[in-house]
């Protein structure tokens, strides 16, 4: 397999200190950090149908050693996440090497090799009262008035068990202090989760940031169509600012902290 050869070369030629990919352990396809000392382990390298946030793992490593050179097996979503993490100074592009593989269909790519090729089934009750995983934000807006949209999203949000899994798994949720843990916004230790504020905080943060990998939706025990929610906010961002997060290495129109910038808004038809 060419991928194995390429990854071995990266390690043996000291282009990277560690290579993040997948391997099979105890029957599970899981991430692994391959190193030069055990370079032959790369013979077990797998692309894995189960995706994990390798870019988040890379950030964990870079935080411990900012000079560490990291190789990553990168699907399309990883590539978008990396672009975004570069622009937010969470990873240094000079320290990252990617080996790319084909992946999931998304607004930016139509071909995929992973689990997203099979759309998630939405049950009849969810279709009638909640939000279809596979609905397009534009159709959802066109087909339901604002009252119905609210009631459908509230049906979804009130199932939340406040596990914070959506934030924990998200490759672009890297804040040291997260608003979802701020006592003035979300009361700690209180269940059920305060809705819709909990989800709307995260939705506003994902504007100009979510790279549409879908890992949050995979991790949500309450089956809330989070990916669709953040697609909805990012549709607005791309309509108004022409910005698609992770598309290329370009700062988000919202990265204005400590600077003076001029935002040029365009009209939004809702």
């Amino acid at each position: 397999m060419d991928m194995v050869k390429a990854a071995k070369e990266l390690l043996l030629q000291d282009k990277v200190d560690i290579f993040l990919g997948y391997r099979k352990l105890d029957g599970h396809q899981i991430p692994h950090g391959f190193t030069k000392a055990h370079v032959d382990d790369l013979d077990q390298l797998e692309i894995s149908l189960n995706r994990y946030p390798l870019e988040k793992i890379a950030c964990d490593l870079a935080q411990k050693d900012p000079a560490l050179k990291i190789g990553i097996l990168a699907r399309d979503c990883s590539q978008r996440a990396l672009n975004l993490l570069y622009t937010w100074d969470q990873l240094n592009p000079e320290n990252i090497e990617t080996l790319t593989v084909n992946c999931c269909p998304s607004p930016l790519s139509t071909h995929g090799d992973c689990s997203y090729l099979t759309p998630k089934p939405t049950g009849d009750y969810k279709k009638a009262h909640g939000v279809d995983y596979n609905d397009s934000p534009k159709d959802f807006l066109a087909n339901h008035d604002s009252g119905e949209r609210l009631s459908r999203w509230m049906y979804e949000f009130q199932k939340c068990i406040k596990c914070y899994g959506c934030r924990n798994v998200c490759p672009v949720c890297f804040c040291k202090e997260c608003s979802l843990e701020h006592p003035n916004l979300v009361e700690p230790g209180v269940l059920p989760a305060e809705v819709p504020i909990f989800h709307l905080i995260r939705a506003t943060h994902m504007a100009g940031r979510c790279i549409d990998c879908g890992l949050c939706e995979d991790a949500c025990p309450a089956h809330i169509p989070l990916r669709m929610l953040y697609r909805e906010v990012n549709d607005a961002v791309s309509d108004i600012f022409g910005y698609v997060p992770g598309d290329h290495i370009e700062k988000s129109p919202f990265s204005i902290i400590g600077k003076t910038v001029e935002l040029t808004p365009a009209p939004m038809d809702v």
Partner: protein
């Protein structure tokens, strides 16, 4: 720098969700849900997501403590087990086996739970045994 992932089972409740520990240089740094685990299929509750915090907590007990004159003192396993055995034997002799009850936990394995009830019934001699999953 070493970074490996270790599949395990959440020890917080009897559901037994599959977790994946991110281990950097020998220390657990993050917990992720194991996506291919049949029980939780890549999802966790808030306790499972934070397993690494109690493993790394400085409050974590790493050895037995024995209460001497009202204060907890470090002890060896032999000392602690002998002390417990002595005191249980005395309670049993003075007040009878039904004065003792055993509560077992979903955080230990099936086999350990089996041993605990066997110990309660056959060694202590009481049926006062229950399990937290029945609460």
């Amino acid at each position: 720098m070493d970074c490996e992932f270790v599949p395990s089972v959440c020890s917080y409740c009897g559901t037994g969700c599959g977790v994946l520990f991110e281990v950097i240089d020998g220390r657990i740094n993050r917990t992720l849900p194991l996506k291919s685990h049949p029980v939780n299929q890549g999802k966790l509750c808030i306790k499972g997501w934070n397993l690494h915090e109690y493993i790394n907590s400085y409050m974590r007990l790493k050895g037995p403590l024995v209460r001497e004159n009202g204060r907890l003192e470090k002890a060896t396993w032999d000392e602690a087990v002998n002390q417990a055995a002595r005191r249980f034997t005395r309670i049993k002799e003075e007040h009878g086996p039904d004065s003792i009850g055993v509560l077992v936990s979903a955080k230990i394995t099936n086999e350990e739970n089996y041993l605990a009830q066997k110990f309660t019934r056959a060694v202590i001699g009481t049926n006062n045994v229950d399990h937290c999953a029945r609460l």
